[in-house]
Symmetry: C2
Subunit: 418 residues, 2 copies
């Protein structure tokens, strides 16, 4: 069979399964996820054995230690996957929710009801736990899922997929609901991305080059997240201790993630006092500073920031610092350089807080809190399937609800249009 | 300037303007729309003169009379455009609405606030009124809009655009907020469709070939609507008079539109009595019937339906008719052939109504009402920017709310992540 025919068959099986999944009760979906969690734990040994094959191949290719660590499965990580499945089972089911209903003058009752999207394709790299996590979120929201992991995790992903599919079979549910693409053909992804009749959404998870490749080749809608250049603006009225606490947390707690702060903006009225304080604290935490001329005037050992620094996602212990004239300049700077991920103002001024909330249209806008809260779990969505920095369908951290759409439901008693 | 550079400039001006539009109060936006309505009416004569240039060119090309009529502007139609602008001014503004807010265990308050999408591109054919209608909906929802009409309406669209832009100027608002692409270069559209950094959404309005072209060439998200193959299922328990009224209205009232019924499904238990009745009434209305073998057994002058008929959008006085064994077969038929537009059940059985609503996941699902209600005005959305038959972002008729997205807003008092 050609790779094109093979992918079409996968997608058609998923579409057929999606019709059945869409009608399942929450109780059945939860039972399925619980059984899947148990099955992963019962199969720890074969999973570790399959993972060992991937690790051995990776070692032969002299892969970086950090990548090897991401790839590795042990009892703890398998337990973590199982716990993730059980957490998703506990989340409330968005399917069937009616988000509004009204009556028209002619008496028809019109409402909007949440339904699954249908078939979701996830294209991801490295971490094998995505196989279980993404499958759980898609299935709980009534969607069929097609998973295509990286070749470096081939054996691990296949083994996880087979264990999970056994539980679909055991409950008499169609296996097309969860498919792991195991072909090594590199054209599998490009062929999948053409199947707009069968697949409703593609979510790429991985580096920027993967995401760009997927979004350029896909005829199917893609929810994408390129990068997070998160800003924190410390206003003239900020409580200094609060500002320091928030800035340190946002920069240092986990610098390698997309919701870490990359640029710090400081109001000029407090520059003389706040810049040296924050510079000293940041240096104490091992953070390299790159600043504008005023920053460099008030603090030592600050490199000169270039134009490129303002748009860079360092993902490292590096921070760009700029002193701005006022809130307007801070907003203009953010509008120019932000990646639409997360922006924070630290202020005690009511009007400035309101204006920042109103005028900054990044996907998450915060007053007096660390940008590190910008994720699905922290914001209260339950588990997270990804973060969208494009505005269509979803904007910001995405939970179960973002894997659904809404149909109109109309209840009449014989009305016709005149 | 190359066409690429020209389109990039248009898009960048739109993006800059969108930042200002996003912060406008509803009062200012409504004032703008009211002024635009007045300006169209005051400029009836120059508009008709510009339109006459398009009509003359069309007549030279021997265009079909129906197309000529769609292109034509007269005092009545210009008044209609002005009335449309005033109607949009009266609609409530979705921007700033907070659709939910909750408190997390650590005390941060998290909400979701509606914001404009940013820049919307509308690519359309023929009717010049789309220029004013689409502009009004985009501006009211705080978006900048780039309009690209068909070459056949070049002079009309340019004149409408110039009149509307004058009112932006008069209020001190950026003209980049409303731009009509007037170049005749055929590459303008393909260049626009590449500008994913500047444009947030493309809505094509026109025939299937235009929509396919746009969706295949766009790197920007596209909301598309290919066709409407709408079904009505008359259940065994249906009130015959209600069923007839609904079927006639759905087929005959305006057969050339996407929410007209194209396929009628009839429960086999009532086939012997209902098929001849509805066949006679349909014939009396000039409707050609194409039926399955059982339909042809119970009614005269019914052509044999082919496989192709079940998937066809006739947009004409033609109806495909099929007798089905039960609700399950009706649902399976709809799931196989529907275009996800609108499906109707006529029934007096509570359980069947509920099951139809639950299991049919087209964008509009109705009980005991005509499919002709499937439009934004009739369903209560106010004006309609289009109908989406793909599930991402919007599904079904789209109103002002569908031209917005939601950002997360977070109010803290110094929280950091532990």
């Amino acid at each position: 069979m050609s790779i094109r025919a093979e992918m079409l068959q996968v997608a058609r099986e998923a579409k057929a399964a999606s019709l059945i999944l869409a009608t399942l009760s929450s109780a059945v979906k939860n039972q399925l996820l619980e059984r899947m969690a148990d099955a992963l734990e019962k199969n720890t040994e074969p999973l570790i054995a399959a993972n060992e094959l991937d690790l051995a191949a990776a070692r032969k290719r002299d892969i970086a230690p950090a990548m090897l660590d991401r790839l590795m499965l042990d009892e703890g990580r398998i337990g973590g996957m199982a716990a993730g499945l059980r957490e998703v089972a506990l989340l409330s089911d968005p399917v069937g929710e009616v988000t509004g209903m009204w009556r028209r003058p002619n008496g028809i009752q019109v409402g909007r009801m949440r339904i699954p999207l249908g078939v979701i394709g996830i294209i991801y790299e490295s971490r094998p736990n995505v196989t279980a996590d993404a499958a759980a979120l898609c299935l709980k929201s009534g969607n069929a899922v097609i998973l295509r992991g990286g070749s470096e995790a081939f054996h691990s992903n296949s083994a996880i997929g087979e264990i999970l599919r056994r539980e679909l079979r055991a409950l008499g549910l169609p296996e097309g609901a969860l498919q792991v693409i195991t072909t090594t053909d590199r054209n599998a992804v490009t062929e999948l991305l053409k199947l707009e009749e069968e697949i409703d959404l593609i979510i790429p998870r991985g580096g920027e080059s993967l995401i760009r490749f997927v979004s350029e080749h896909s005829r199917i809608p893609v929810i994408k997240h390129y990068k997070g250049v998160c800003h924190t603006f410390v206003d003239a009225s900020a409580d200094f201790e609060m500002a320091e606490r928030i800035c340190i947390n946002a920069k240092v707690q986990r610098p390698g993630v997309c919701n870490a702060m990359e640029t710090l903006l400081i109001h000029k009225d407090i520059a003389e006092t706040f810049v040296p304080r924050i510079a000293e604290i940041m240096r104490g935490q091992g953070v390299e500073l790159r600043g504008c001329p005023i920053t460099r005037e008030f603090a030592e050992n600050v490199k000169e920031a270039t134009e490129e620094d303002w748009g860079t996602e360092y993902l490292d212990l590096i921070l760009a610092v700029k002193v701005v004239d006022d809130l307007s300049e801070a907003i203009a700077h953010i509008q120019r350089y932000a990646s639409l991920h997360t922006e924070v103002i630290v202020t005690s001024d009511y009007g400035n807080a309101q204006r920042f909330i109103r005028e900054i249209n990044s996907s998450v806008v915060m007053v007096n809190a660390s940008s590190r809260f910008s994720d699905g779990n922290q914001l209260g969505l339950g588990a997270e399937i990804g973060i969208s920095t494009s505005k269509l369908h979803s904007f910001g951290p995405m939970g179960l609800e973002d894997l659904t759409t809404r149909k109109f439901v109309v209840f009449g008693d014989g009305q016709i249009r005149s």
